[in-house]
Symmetry: C2
Subunit: 209 residues, 2 copies
């Protein structure tokens, strides 16, 4: 293995070429392609090529929300940190994570729920279009489903990519049947970097040349 | 797929049981076991069972550094965010990421290098024991190797887990031959969540019952 001499600015383009090469004969849906490739770029894991599932029209609905100056809510500060701030500023959008908020901790303690659940309750009170990106807590997805079923929330998009071994697969299936636009990584895999990568792919669609 | 009714506090323990079950007959080295399991827990990716490589004594040297109140330097704010602050406080350690610092941006621009390289130069000037955790930039690892070879830096541990397709495999191999303690994810995989998970596994070894 030798070093490839390349300018830092060209590394992402070259990476995407390598991913494209290795996809070989696999044809990705045009609307999903750059999102799937960015997730592979972020993980070096081609499993996401078959794991990522999009509800019909999900990408278009997400782009409409981003163009309207929406709020992206995450379930971890890591995912929030990973979302492009310059991109959000260009669009007049913002990102928030309520997990470390004192009021969320207090509600979770009082109700005997997780902070992830309480932070979704707080997200339901936001004004305007909301994209929810869940990279960690299946309980966040389960709570979102309850809020949707109760008519208390109608996210423009749910990015459902928590990672793990307990209730993660179930929580993702629950969101795929919630009747709202979704991008979900079926199975156990996902994480904060995956949630951020999907947000960034959507943002870059609107902000990069 | 049905829901598993479990208290939030028990989810991590149950996840580790599932990972243990699925490892089957694979025997992990006792000193590495909890680190490997935490990375699998963070990624749901059993590839790390064979990808993670430890230099002899790496874990012991890292624990010595953590007991001495070391600094953990990361190459992304995401990884830095993911490292347990309560755990660090118990140990009298701290975490830093220089990537967003104005002086690092200025040096990188002036020298035509990446901010990751310039942030490693800044790390080389730190007092006391340093653990460097690289989850993103292969150029950070290549710069570390140069600093080590020049006698300008002697990290207590390098966590070398950048993810990607360009120079990532090469940079990891370079670190495995640098003559310093390392934990490396061989191959393309890794990321900020993996870097943070390895840090946390080491921290928890010393701070959890």
């Amino acid at each position: 293995m030798k070093i490839e001499h390349i300018l830092p600015a060209d590394i992402e383009r070259r990476s995407m070429e390598i991913i494209e090469d290795e996809l070989g004969d696999i044809i990705l849906p045009p609307d999903e392609k750059d999102i799937i490739k960015r997730v592979v770029h972020t993980s070096a894991d081609f499993d996401y090529v078959r794991n990522l599932r999009f509800s019909p029209g999900a990408v278009e609905q997400a782009l409409t929300a981003l163009k309207s100056g929406c709020t992206i809510v995450t379930d971890t500060n890591m995912a929030c940190m990973g979302i492009s701030q310059p991109g959000l500023e260009k669009l007049g959008c913002r990102k928030v994570c309520f997990m470390a908020d004192a009021d969320v901790a207090a509600v979770a303690k009082a109700q005997g729920t997780t902070r992830a659940q309480a932070s979704m309750d707080k997200a339901a009170a936001l004004e305007g279009a909301v994209i929810v990106a869940v990279g960690n807590a299946p309980t966040a997805l389960l709570r979102l489903r309850e809020l949707i079923d109760a008519g208390k929330m109608k996210p423009a998009l749910i990015i459902g990519v928590p990672v793990g071994f307990v209730n993660v697969v179930y929580a993702k299936e629950t969101i795929m049947e919630a009747g709202v636009p979704y991008i979900v990584a079926k199975g156990r895999k996902g994480g904060s970097t995956i949630a951020a990568a999907i947000c960034n792919a959507l943002i870059y669609r609107l902000t990069r040349g």
